[in-house]
Amino acid sequence: MDWGKVKFFLGEVLRNFTRNAGMQATAIGTVAITIILLGAFLFVRATLAGLGSDILNQIEISVYFTNDATTAQEDALRSTLAHDPRVATVQFVPRKEGLAELRARTNGVIDTSLLTENPLPDKMRVRVHDPASVPNVAAKIRKMKGIGNVVYPQTVVERLLQLGGVLRRIGLVVIAVFLLVAGIIISNTIRLTVFARRREISIMQLVGATHMYIRAPFICEGLLDGLAGSLIAVAVLAGARYMLWPKLLLALPWVQLNASVVNGPVLVGQLLLVGGFIGVIASWISVGRHLRT
């Protein structure tokens, strides 16, 4: 290891970094805001994804047979569903059990002792693996014989699937725009340092420094901007996670948000990576532009 070389290189990077303090702060701040948004988005998306899939996974198709449905017809449906790979579970509820369930659920509000006969048909509860296949499976069941009614929370399924998609797309666009803005600001910051050092760069080129060598300090400067910004963002996000999140949960008791689905260290790693990456790319581009001319 040649410590003289290392010292010279670090000196160059530090000098660049401290030369334009104001611009540097702007770049770091923009990265921080971008990464905070990105982190919050990823965090909320992970918790919401858990929430949405919980609701969707609880969705079941209720199949009511007609009163004159034969046992053969009921068995036919059961075996058809058993062979359908989309179907997870099938539960047969005979009309007697149905009445008992109804009694239990209504808890005496409706006085079922007044009933002279059981008005309920036989019923089958069907659950599928993928919530998106609910409408298709329901349609298939409707075509079978002896089926009276097929019921599932249609609008809930469709809306949830749709909403999830739309939210994800909007989020991604916002993040992409912010990443771009952060990149441009870092790129401009580096251009200022490149401009301030154009004399040195021209001398470097004159005495035969390679492009890679000339680039290196600027790339490091961009990397520092990116990493500093994402470190600030991570600190802010961590603070929010431990101070604001419990309050949010208290304020929205009916929303089941589960923060434990988020893998903290992995998320922090991803955010630092993204920040550093923008810094490197942005500075690479702006130095490259200078060296080409």
């Binding site: 004399r199 005495v207 035969g208």
Partner: protein, 236 residues
């Protein structure tokens, strides 16, 4: 050392800087390129270290076909030659020592090598005692000597000087020229573009004269003005 064959250089704005120039310079030569400003002296030098690319023709420097050299190989070419300018091109915030060391540091030299070579180069140009001073504290001649030390620190075989005495008074000019001569005596090929008549006439070296982008004369032990050595006198 240098071979230029049928080189023309036309700038994008249509100006013809060099027009079918051919020139051979041998190893260890000392050559003056003379002519008025704008006759193509600087353009010719810039072609040699590939700051400019010729429109047509072949350029070979120390066995390297410069005109065909890929961009990525330019740094390697420039480590083989030193360049000195009229405006010195020193870094004001670095000391004399640091300015010279800079040329080695940015080409990835080992610090042990730097500790060995920088004092040697400073000793050659006679600035060892001012190595801790900044360019702003030096005379013009001393600044140019610093620039020459920087150009020589990587042991180039060729030293290109573009109006090296253009900003200097006569006594500093003499000092620099004597230094260049000493460097040449050690075996380095030296090419000096200048329009300083006194220097050229005193040194009596090979003189290549450019006019409107063309070589008009090429004399061994020549004078600044054509044929002055043969006893002709030019008026004006």
């Amino acid at each position: 050392m240098i071979s230029i064959r049928s080189v023309s250089l036309i700038y994008p704005n249509g100006v013809r800087a060099l027009d079918n120039v051919s020139l051979e310079i041998g190893k260890g030569d000392f050559v003056f390129l003379v002519g008025h400003s704008g006759t193509g002296k600087s353009s010719l030098l810039r072609l040699l270290y590939k700051e400019t690319v010729p429109t047509s023709g072949e350029i070979t420097v120390d066995g390297i076909r410069v005109d065909r050299l890929k961009r990525g190989r330019i740094p390697a070419l420039r480590r083989h030659l030193g360049v000195v300018f009229q405006d010195f091109k020193l870094l004001a915030e670095k000391t004399v020592w640091e300015n010279v060391a800079f040329a080695m540091q940015v080409t990835g030299a080992h610090s042990k090598e730097i500790m060995r070579e920088v004092p040697r180069a400073l000793d050659l140009v006679g600035l060892s005692h001012k190595s801790r001073m900044f360019p702003g504290e030096l005379s013009g001649g001393e600044q140019q000597r610093t620039a020459i030390a920087r150009a020589l620190v990587n042991h180039p075989k060729l030293l290109l000087c573009d109006e090296p005495t253009g900003n200097l008074d006569p006594s500093n000019t003499t000092e620099i020229m004597e230094l260049l001569l000493r460097i040449n005596l050690k075996g380095t090929t030296v090419v000096v573009a200048t329009h300083n008549q006194a220097v050229v006439d005193r040194m009596r070296r090979r003189v290549v004269r450019l006019e409107d982008g063309k070589i008009v004369t090429d004399e061994e032990r020549g004078y600044y003005y054509l044929g002055l050595g043969q006893g002709q006198v030019l008026s004006g």
